[in-house]
Amino acid sequence: MAAMARSWATKPHIGLWAIGFWLVLAALPLIGFVTESPSFEYYLFMGQSMLIYAIAVLGLNLLIGFNGQISLGHSAFFAVGAYAAAILMVHASVPYWLAIPLAGIVCFGAGFLFGFPALKLEGHYLALATFTLAIAVPQLLKHKSIAGWTGGVGGVLLDKPDPPAFLPLSVDQFLYYVCLIVAMALFWIVYNLLRGRSGRAMMAIRDHAMAAGTMGIDTALYKTMTFGVSAAITGMAGALSAITVAYVAPDSFTLQLSISFLVGLVVGGIASLPGCLIGGAFIVLVQNSSQSISDWMKDAFSLRYDVPAWAIYGTLLLLLMFFLPNGLAGGITAIRGLFSRATQKT
């Protein structure tokens, strides 16, 4: 796994594949100008969700995949980012494009602070401490002392930003591009971060913290910084989610969300940047497809009960882990490896 990650992050140039892929993503909303399909806007909304989850998974991956700190509490940072953006936009009339990075800064602070106790915790202990964080945050958000800002249990409603007048875009097209630009910027930053000195230090800590320490890496600083950056990235995903859904409420940020991020991460591929995008798409698609499979099974076998979609979801996860324990990106790499070996032989 480590070798795979390293080959990815230290590759000398961004592959043509990656550039092509992002270009395709950028071109998708343009279909809107030729299609008459009323569901197109809905697909764009799904695209926004996928990008948002991909960014959240990217943040988590930086922490887990590249620095070896397990977090089950990233829904908390997602929530803080979403609330920060919503409160800034509603109470301080901050424009959306400024609210997103500001939310990132707030989350960086929160993550950096949480990184200090996390320093002392390893593996399972850290996982469980962050697990409690994920459960505590929704309750903190609705506490009466800050209800004036967070709207208490009712949450905060906000307005979706309008596209600038000079762009002939619909709201959903425009928001898709907002998400895409943020995603591209963050993936690019992370890509460069990982290629540089800090990235090598982060991965050295993951692979062997003590050895990294003896080589003169300030492990405490790097670990807290990574926690902060990871929280900032996930927080910006939260800010985007607040803007695209136009509503934040405590019930939106349950432990279930943290679990979704983790599942997206593992299914996409640990320590893989393209895996983050796969994971983001998986989070959105798999729940909907579980529902469809459930409906189909009910009709096909004329069952008396509904087969619960979550049982199907669980089974899908189990099968994936059985056959692709390194995630889909890992699977793709493995297949590419087979191919290149085969071609070398001939």
Partner: protein
């Protein structure tokens, strides 16, 4: 934009002389043979106990389709999706239903935060957002949200009725409140405050909250008992209603006990809590309690029973949601029948806003459904009931929200 729409709507409603069976006019999701209806429901997650409602609706529409060929010759294609009680998921699924699946309307989506998330969207898209399964009081606002209509008596009103009843009957009581720390708890509390009026300051001696994630409310019950209260206002959801009723009995506390209707299901609360512990509790109802022997021979009860046995056999018939969702589906069927062949979204709202004295099976005698272009609260009256033996027994008169 919104205001113009409102004007149009109320103008059209005012001149409701247009015969119902005009020429065919179809909104999205309607054909000569089918009407598509959407819904979001928490089939999973913390609130999954409420999923009962969606299952009943699916069973009812299946029954309509198979025995009567649907409504006015059109089969109902009912799509009910699991949002896990998460607002962003509700938004995504609602957009899927409205934009991709092209449903005619959204019926009985459940939850306050979840409906808040889609409130603005539904009104911008001008899709009927009918008969919401939530008791928040903000759904009856035809001026600003002409496409959204609530259904059941709202929490605020219900607790206001309790407050008034307490002031009239137990004016020396010391009141302790236990409530869920969410929007339901808040709405009930504000109504209670209004109902007590000046009594609020004087009478309330304890106000404890709990979270849905708390394993038990034992500690809270001890706290409020310790306040010296003689009257217990119990604002809880089923699992915690059952826990608190049991705990109150266990510690030998005997307060006058008021319980909100959300937690007053016989099958889901009273029986598990132990009926000997539940004697004398007061609640408010708008629907018949199917365990009350008084209704055992009523035709609407028998009809419901036959339907449940045949079409929804896996459901627990003592669960209160099976009654309230049965009532709500009749509301929708009435609106669709009235629409005749004009199944445009405008006409759906026009008919929904012109229900006159509609009687629905299992509503308490005397309760009639009424709406108008300025009144988007279909059910407005409740009656108090006391738990006696193994069922609720009604007492007093119907209390309507306007009078209350």
């Amino acid at each position: 934009m919104l205001r113009r729409r409102t004007a149009l709507l109320s103008a059209a409603a005012a001149t409701f002389a247009v015969p119902a069976r005009a020429e065919k006019k179809y909104g999205p999701g309607v054909t000569d043979t089918e009407i598509k209806i959407g819904q979001t429901m928490p089939y999973s997650g913390n609130a999954s106990a409420y999923g009962v409602a969606g299952r009943l609706h699916a069973a009812y529409f299946r029954m309509l389709n198979e025995t009567q060929g649907g409504i006015n010759g059109r089969k109902i294609n009912f799509i009910s999706l699991d949002d896990g009680y998460s607002p962003p998921k509700t938004m995504e699924l609602t957009r899927q239903l409205v934009e991709r699946d092209q449903v005619l309307l959204m019926f009985y989506p459940l939850g306050t935060q979840t409906n808040t998330a889609i409130h603005k969207y539904m009104n911008q898209k001008k899709v009927p957002h009918l008969f919401l399964a939530t008791g928040a009081s903000k759904w009856g606002d035809p001026k600003n949200f002409p496409w959204t209509m609530g259904w059941q008596p709202d929490y605020h009103t219900e607790c206001k009725i309790f407050g008034k009843h307490i002031v009239a009957n137990h004016k020396d009581a010391k009141i302790a409140i236990l409530r869920q720390n969410d929007d339901m708890g808040n709405d009930y509390l504000s109504g209670f405050k209004e109902g007590l009026g000046a009594g609020w300051e004087k009478m309330v001696v304890a106000d404890a909250t709990y979270e849905v994630t708390d394993p038990t409310v034992d500690s809270q019950i001890l706290q409020i008992k310790n306040s010296g209260a003689t009257l217990f206002m119990n604002i809880t959801t089923p699992k915690f209603s059952a826990q608190s009723i049991k705990k109150v009995a266990e510690i030998g506390w005997k307060p006058i006990h008021y319980l909100v209707s959300v937690g007053a299901s016989v099958g889901a609360v009273m029986r598990p809590a132990g009926i000997e512990n539940a004697q004398g509790i007061v609640t408010a109802q708008f629907a018949k309690d199917v365990t009350d022997p008084r209704w055992a021979t009523a035709p609407d009860y028998l009809e419901w029973k036959a339907f449940m046995d045949k079409w929804n056999p896996t459901a627990n018939q003592l669960e209160g949601s099976n009654v309230s969702s049965y009532i709500s589906v009749h509301g929708l069927v009435h609106v669709l029948k009235k629409c005749g062949d004009d199944l445009s979204r405008e006409n759906i709202m026009r008919q929904a806003a012109n229900i006159k004295d509609l009687e629905i099976p299992l509503l308490l005698p005397g309760i009639k459904v009424n709406t108008s272009p300025t009144n988007f609260y279909p059910i407005r009256a409740e009656q108090l009931a006391r738990f006696e033996g193994d069922h609720w027994t009604l007492f007093g008169d119907l209390i309507s929200a306007d009078a209350g």
